[in-house]
Every structure is written in C-alpha cells, then in structure tokens.
C-alpha cells in the first residue's frame, strides 16, 4: 500500500462515522470563531482574560444542566457577569488588573466545582472540563453553529473598529468613537466564543483556541487581513488533524486539537520567513561572522 492511499484512508475511514462528521463540524466551526477572535486577543494582550472567561462559565454551565436550560444561557450569564465584575473591581480598588482577574475567575471556577458536587452525574463534569466533541447532541450543534454565526457576523461588521480599538483607543476617542463600547463589544464576543468552543475542547483548553491561532498567524504576517485568514486556516487544519488523530490513536479529541494548534505555533516560531528564530539566529550568526572578517 503506497503512502498516498494510506493517507487517503487515514482521512476517509473515520468520515464514514456520523459521530466523527459531527465532531468535525463542531471543531471546525468553533475553531474558526475562536481563531478569528484570537487575532484581536493577541494584539490587545487579553490572553489572561480568555482564561478568566472560560473558567468563570463553569457555574453557569452546571446551573444550566440543573435547570435543563441550554448550556449557552448559563455560560453567557456567568462569562459576561465575570467580565463585568472584573471591570468593576478593577476600577474601584487599587488591586492590579491581573490580580483581579485571578481572584474572579478562580472564585467562579471554585463555585462551579462546589455546584457540580451537588449535581448527581459526575460524568458531566469531565465533559465540561475536557470537552466531549465525539458525543455532541443535535441541540449542542445548533447552539455552536448559531452562536458562531452571530460572532462572525458581528466581527465582519465591526472588524475595522475593533482593530482601531486594538491599535489606538485614544484616536478612536478623538474621533468620537467610544473605546469603552468597543472594549465591551470585544469582551462580549470573547464570552460568546468561549461558550462556542466549550463543546469542542472543554473549559480547560478553550483559552488555547482563543490564543494560539492568532499568535501563530502573528508570527507569519504583517497584514491584519492575512492574519485573520492564516489564523482561521490553522484552526481548521488543527480541527481535522485533531479529530482524526484522536480517532486513530484513541486519545482525547480536545487535547489533540490543541496539540495540533500548538504544533503549528512551533513550526511558525521556528520557520516563519521573517520572524522564525532559526533564520533570525542564522542572520545574527552571519552578521557576527562578517564582523570577525
């Protein structure tokens, strides 16, 4: 059996199963929404905020299960609520923002753990924490697709304003465009996106999805539009590699997706035409060699 046939089979064999198709759909849709947003997260420097929002949704998800509501409702309430809480404490106390974020998200996560211990089924917790993309229900898929569509539509409509905010909020203000409003919009989009990606990779790894693709793309281009495209492509490729690898080797799907993204980041870090450390190291060595002669 030659390599091409083997490779084709590696991809086609899992596709015969409906649960794999559904897992792919969720991973790709969630991946693209996260990847697009991750470009602004990288540039504004909000990685910790992504971590905070993702952990803070846990109590919301647990309460949603408890009351039989769609998980997105509780997650959005607690995600958005935590962001607001961080903002309030940050503005009204002398504690620095990273500490406020740390306090709020760990407290929310702890609340979630306490609530979970009162909820009968323990299997749900591991699904929430680590994702259960191979077992998503129709309702879950609908939530993911609809929320991702909303995120992408808002981003498509407002992407220039978001970039303006990320680059120069003072200039936005000078033009009479409210940067506080844009910040709130970006935080809202982050909350929704985190909820979207929960299904794919779970609470613990969501933050990777809203950082790694953007950080990878940032190493590869100086143009924002290209950064969006590269970031989304990385996420799609990682979704395929992750889902198929987890099928063949029987390992965690969420873990595989994030590992695939991390692999892309490592490649960009090493081999990026302009930013790659290998070339930069070589350029520096060549300069030093020239200096010696």
């Amino acid at each position: 059996m030659d390599v091409i046939t083997a490779l084709t089979q590696w991809f086609t064999e899992p596709m015969q199963f409906e649960f794999v198709q559904r897992a792919l759909l969720v991973s790709v849709v969630a991946g693209v929404a996260c990847a697009v947003l991750s470009c602004w997260m990288t540039l504004v420097g909000w990685s910790l905020m992504g971590d905070a929002v993702s952990h803070a949704v846990l109590p919301g998800v647990v309460l949603s299960y408890l009351f039989g509501a769609p998980f997105a409702v509780g997650a959005l309430v607690f995600g958005g609520g935590s962001v607001a809480l961080i903002g309030i404490v940050n503005r009204t106390s002398r504690v620095k923002e990273d500490a406020v974020i740390g306090v709020v998200f760990t407290a929310m996560f702890a609340l979630g753990l306490v609530l979970v211990s009162r909820v009968p089924s323990q299997t749900d917790l591991s699904h929430i924490l680590f994702g259960n993309v191979l077992g998503v229900s129709d309702a879950d898929i609908w939530q993911v697709v609809v929320l991702a569509a909303i995120v992408l539509a808002v981003v498509w409509f407002k992407h220039r304003d978001l970039t303006l905010y990320a680059f120069d909020p003072v200039h936005a203000h000078a033009l009479g465009i409210n940067p506080r409003l844009l910040e709130t919009l970006l935080l809202g989009l982050l909350s929704v996106t985190v909820v979207v990606a929960l299904q794919a990779v779970g609470i613990i790894l969501v933050v990777a999805m809203v950082i790694i693709p953007g950080a990878t793309a940032y190493l590869l281009t100086d143009r924002f539009e290209r950064m969006l495209l590269i970031s989304a492509s990385v996420a799609v490729a990682a979704a395929f590699v992750g889902v198929f690898a987890s099928f063949h080797v029987n390992v965690s799907t969420g873990g595989s997706i994030v590992l695939a993204q991390a692999g892309a980041f490592v490649l960009a870090y090493l081999f990026s035409p302009r930013q790659g450390v290998l070339w930069r190291g070589r350029g520096a060595r060549a300069l030093r060699a020239r200096a010696r002669t």
Partner: protein
C-alpha cells in the same frame, strides 16, 4: 474671533495627586503653541483634558467654541501620540493607519469610499510617505513614523492638532522635516499644540510658548518664555547652555 483652544481654570486631580491646578490657556486659530514642561509637569494630563479623556474637576474646555464632545464628533481634533504609546509591531500598513483618520467620515462598517481613498493619498503625498504607504508601520524611521500619524490627522481633516512629544526618538535631520511639515500645516490654517521638552525646536516652530509645571507659569512668545531667568524661576535650575532637553 473664536479661539481654537480655550482652557479656563482647569483643575485635575488623580486621587490625592493634583495634576493640573487652575490652568488657563488660550491658543488662537492658526497658531503653533509649544507646551513646555518637565516629565510629570502635567503636559499629558492637559492633552487628555482637552481630548476629554480625563474630566476636569473644575474648569471649562472649548475647542473652536465647542465642547470637546461636539468637537470630537465633528472630527476637529487630531491627536499624534507619543512614540512609547504606539505598538509598532502591530500588523497594519502606513496606509491603514492614515485611513483610520477617515473613520469619523464613514458609516458604521468603516468601509472606505473613493473620497476617503483620495484623502488618504493626499495626506500620504503631503507627508512624503506615498512610496512607503504599503510598509508595516514599524518599518519606518522615527521621523517617518511621526509623519504617518500627522498624515492620519491630515486625512481626518482636523483643524486642531495635539502633538505629544513629536521630536522624541527622532534624529536631527528628520526633526527638520517634521518641523517643515508642521509649519506647512500652520500655513493652511491649522492650530497646533505641541508638547515637548526639547527647547531647540521651539523658536523655529512655535509662535508662542507656554510653560507648565502643574500650574501655567508663563505664556508668551518663545523669546519671552525661554529667557534663562524665567526658566530658572520655573524649575529652580538653569538648563545647560545650548542643551536640547532637560528632565
């Protein structure tokens, strides 16, 4: 005649710290005013107050006779930030930055129309950056970077420009091109408030100078303000003769 910038009795507190105390400063239209002061003298705070980023505890701000909110909505105020406040590794081209000056003229999606592209091209020509328009913003020299942000204000059509330390991080030769550019903006009737602790450029560039040290200590022609005895009284130390800066 309506003054371009009119600050009356502005007092700004950050908590217990008094940043500005009863500052009144009026700059007429088409004038270039150099705002002088050491680090921490309140120059940045005064800029933020004029822009409405910081609200004054007391006092009144008028820009071309309007409140700062109305002036900003009309796009009258352009802002050229200090170099340290800009993320030079941000993935935007020079052209993109200048286009951001047009956002106030656009619809909610900020989709550029032909008029916006013409305004950007004009601003790039004016600042001699047309050949560098497709470069990433950080791939410019210090002087070119300043000109890019001035181009953004030109594209905006701002009548009042606030420039925060435009000569910091700019070499001597580029400094002259920035001074020429600002001079030509004044020729067109723009009003410039230029904060600097670089005294060397003040006589060439400025019609008037204002000395700020939390309070406004002096305001007049550069000759009147840059006299050694005035500076001595203001800062308790005589800047070295011919020194470009003191801190």
């Amino acid at each position: 005649m309506i003054p371009a910038i009119e600050v009356t009795g502005a007092t700004v507190r950050y908590g217990d710290v008094l940043a500005l105390e009863d500052v009144s400063l009026t700059v007429g239209p088409g004038r270039v005013c150099g705002l002088l002061g050491t680090n921490g003298s309140g120059k940045s705070t005064l800029f933020k107050t004029i822009l409405g980023l910081v609200s004054a505890d007391r006092g009144r701000i008028r820009i071309l006779g309007r409140t700062h909110t109305a002036a900003r909505r009309e796009g009258l105020v352009g802002y050229v930030p200090q170099s340290e406040q800009v993320d030079w590794a941000f993935p935007v081209r020079v052209r993109d930055v200048v286009m951001m000056g047009r956002y106030g003229h656009m619809g909610p999606r900020r989709r550029p129309r032909a008029a916006d592209r013409r305004a950007v091209d004009h601003a790039l020509d004016r600042t001699d950056l047309a050949d560098l328009a497709d470069r990433q913003i950080g791939a410019l020299s210090g002087g070119q970077r300043k000109r890019a942000f001035v181009a953004r204000a030109i594209a905006q059509g701002a009548d009042v420009l606030l420039l925060d330390e435009p000569f910091a991080g700019v070499d001597k030769r580029s400094e002259a091109t920035v001074v020429d550019l600002l001079g030509s903006l004044r020729q067109d009737g723009a009003t410039l408030l230029v904060s600097t602790h670089d005294l060397a450029q003040v006589p060439d560039l400025c019609d008037e100078a204002a000395l700020l040290q939390r309070r406004l200590l002096a305001h007049g022609t550069p000759d009147e303000v840059l006299r050694p005895d005035v500076l001595l009284e203001a800062f308790g130390a005589r800047p070295a003769r011919g020194a470009a800066a003191w801190t």
